[in-house]
């Protein structure tokens, strides 16, 4: 990959004018618009289809998993004998690889421009459906600062402008952008399925199935909680004493037809305390003389 090392001496930046002004104010000099992307092939496949001919307990199951056994014994062939919550490590690996590669390229471009860091990073994930490919594209503005040695590796942050300045004034240095992904798949046990249908039995009917019609659906609650728990642990394990700021947790549940698949994603700014937290003057409460 080559950075845009054109003959031009002009830098370019995706910064808004306000962010650009704030950036100059803080001594950061924009050096160029930098980007990095990675395309991975994207094949959906679940535990079930990848497990043809393979029983449980195979080493395909890594990470979190919980099995829910049927308490009824053999009832009928439609009656599922097991239920499973399982971490879809292969999905996490694809995402992590793509994000890592895109970030590495972004930082390589910044390094080749002699930058200290990259600010105003924008991340996009694009599904090129026809190709069944999936792209992570990162872009940002490489910046340099006079009279400071370049860090071993440029810093990166989603922030820019006054927000970045305030972060620094408060005593935090931007370190990196962080992304964590976890996917958990659910194969509902007979009781879970029964509850998810509001107590309508499938196949052979056996009394009240030992499950109340009302109340929590334990397996789903466990899976949803586990996805959120795992993704936070994953991000935290990479922080090494730093703080993750402005983290956003996004969870989506996809109904695959074979049961719910839960994808949890956290992204945020990894920052490091470099001096005692400085207290800012309390803001003035104001009311605008405008009707919006």
């Amino acid at each position: 990959m080559t950075a845009s090392e054109s003959t031009s001496s002009a830098w370019s930046s995706g910064l808004s004018t306000n962010d650009f002004a704030a950036c100059l104010d803080s001594g950061l000099q924009p050096l160029g618009f930098v980007q990095g992307c990675s395309v991975v092939s994207w094949n959906f496949y679940s535990m079930r289809s990848s497990m043809v001919g393979v029983g449980f307990g195979s080493n395909q199951l890594r990470g979190y998993s919980e099995q829910y056994n049927c308490p009824h014994g053999f009832v009928s062939s439609e009656h599922r004998g097991y239920g499973l919550n399982y971490q879809m490590t292969w999905i996490e690996e694809a995402w992590t690889e793509a994000f890592g590669a895109a970030k590495r390229r972004l930082l390589e471009e910044a390094t080749s421009l002699g930058a200290h860091g990259v600010i105003d990073v924008v991340d996009r994930s694009i599904h090129h459906v026809e190709n069944s490919t999936f792209e992570i594209a990162l872009s940002g503005t490489a910046v340099g600062i006079a009279d400071v040695a370049r860090p071993d590796r440029p810093f990166a942050t989603f922030l820019a402008g006054q927000k970045l300045n305030k972060l620094v004034e408060a005593g935090f240095a931007p370190v990196d952008i962080a992304l964590g992904i976890t996917a958990v798949g659910v194969i509902g046990s007979c009781i879970t399925e029964y509850q998810m249908r509001g107590g309508l039995s499938i196949g052979a009917n056996i009394g009240n199935w030992g499950a109340p019609q009302k109340g929590e659906i334990e397996q789903l609650v466990r899976a949803q909680s586990a996805a959120r728990q795992l993704v936070r642990e994953r991000v935290r394990s990479e922080l090494g004493g730093d703080t993750l700021h402005g983290a956003s947790l996004r969870v989506r549940t996809i109904d695959t037809g074979e049961g719910p698949q839960i994808e949890a994603q956290i992204r945020g700014n990894r920052v490091r305390s470099f001096k005692a937290f400085a207290k800012l003057a309390p803001p003035r409460p104001v009311i605008q003389l405008a009707d919006r």
């Binding site: 400071v148 305030k166 993750l244 947790l249």
Partner: protein, 273 residues
């Protein structure tokens, strides 16, 4: 400013100090600073979720009934999901060492025979830990900005309070009334159903607030309308933050007047097709 930025970049070479513990927070830097200004800091991003079953048949209404029919099964299911979800949130907050959760985002989803309620927020703690009271963590859906303003005025949040009401408007009643189309008349059965659902939910919320000696409920969010999959069922869900006065009396804020010169015009990439 420039010297601070230089110090920050220069500090990147050093490893994070050993006694710092990793913190994840979904607060923006503005919010962190505001929170810090009142002596709090974020400790962790916390969540609580509950998914409950609504028994099959709850939304099926016997044909030919006269008046509105209350659906206690659905009402109880949603209420219990709120209860267990916020209990889990509080537990995570306590485990993380927080005294309360701010900026809680509440998602309610009723999908056929299941109802789920999800809470996501940031657990906070006083910077000087000895100030942390060991009591029950507070939970609020107020943003940090609102939390700070309330505190300035002498108020504190106690807990999220919620209520739900589900009422079915009988099918025949509606059909009969619609047969009279051409006359502009009120549809009394539907009006009544909606009223019942609302009153029921608001009543639950208020009862919950009174039980915790709250002085009021602010920032109430309301979700209402027909249920997606059973459009004859009127659903009404409300939740808000119960607050109490902690200062001796209410402190006036006395804001300044400003004139903003922004238009909030954002470049629209969609303009270029």
């Amino acid at each position: 400013m420039a010297s601070e930025m230089r110090a920050a970049v220069a500090a990147l070479g050093a490893a994070p100090s050993r006694h710092d513990k990793s913190v994840t927070s979904d607060l923006s830097i503005d919010e962190t600073l505001l929170l810090h200004g009142m002596g709090y800091e974020p400790v962790d991003l916390v969540t609580g979720i509950s998914i409950v079953a609504i028994p099959y048949g709850t939304f099926i209404v016997p044909y030919g009934q006269g008046g509105p029919i209350e659906l206690p099964n659905a009402t109880e299911a949603v209420a219990s999901a709120f209860q267990s979800g916020s209990e889990r949130l509080r537990k995570e907050c306590a485990t993380a060492g927080g005294v309360g959760v701010v900026g809680v985002e509440v998602e309610v989803d009723i999908d056929g025979p299941t109802a789920s309620v999800t809470f996501t927020g940031t657990a906070v703690t006083p910077i000087r830990h000895e100030l942390a009271s060991p009591g029950r963590p507070f939970v609020t859906d107020l943003s940090v900005r609102d939390f700070v303003l309330l505190e300035r005025a002498g108020w504190a949040p106690i807990d999220l309070v919620a209520g739900a009401g589900f009422v079915a408007a009988p099918v025949q009643g509606v059909r009969k009334t619609l047969a009279q189309i051409g006359q502009n008349i009120e549809l009394p059965v539907i009006t009544r159903s909606l009223q019942i659902a609302r009153e029921q939910a608001m009543d639950q919320m208020q009862t919950a607030a009174l039980a915790m000696n709250a002085a009021g409920v602010v920032d109430v969010t309301i979700i209402d309308g027909p249920l997606g999959h059973s459009r004859h069922v009127c659903a009404f869900i409300c939740y808000g933050t119960a607050i109490r006065l902690v200062a001796e009396q209410h402190q006036r804020i006395e804001p300044d007047l400003v004139l903003a010169m922004d238009d909030h015009i954002e470049f629209q990439a969609s303009a270029i097709r």
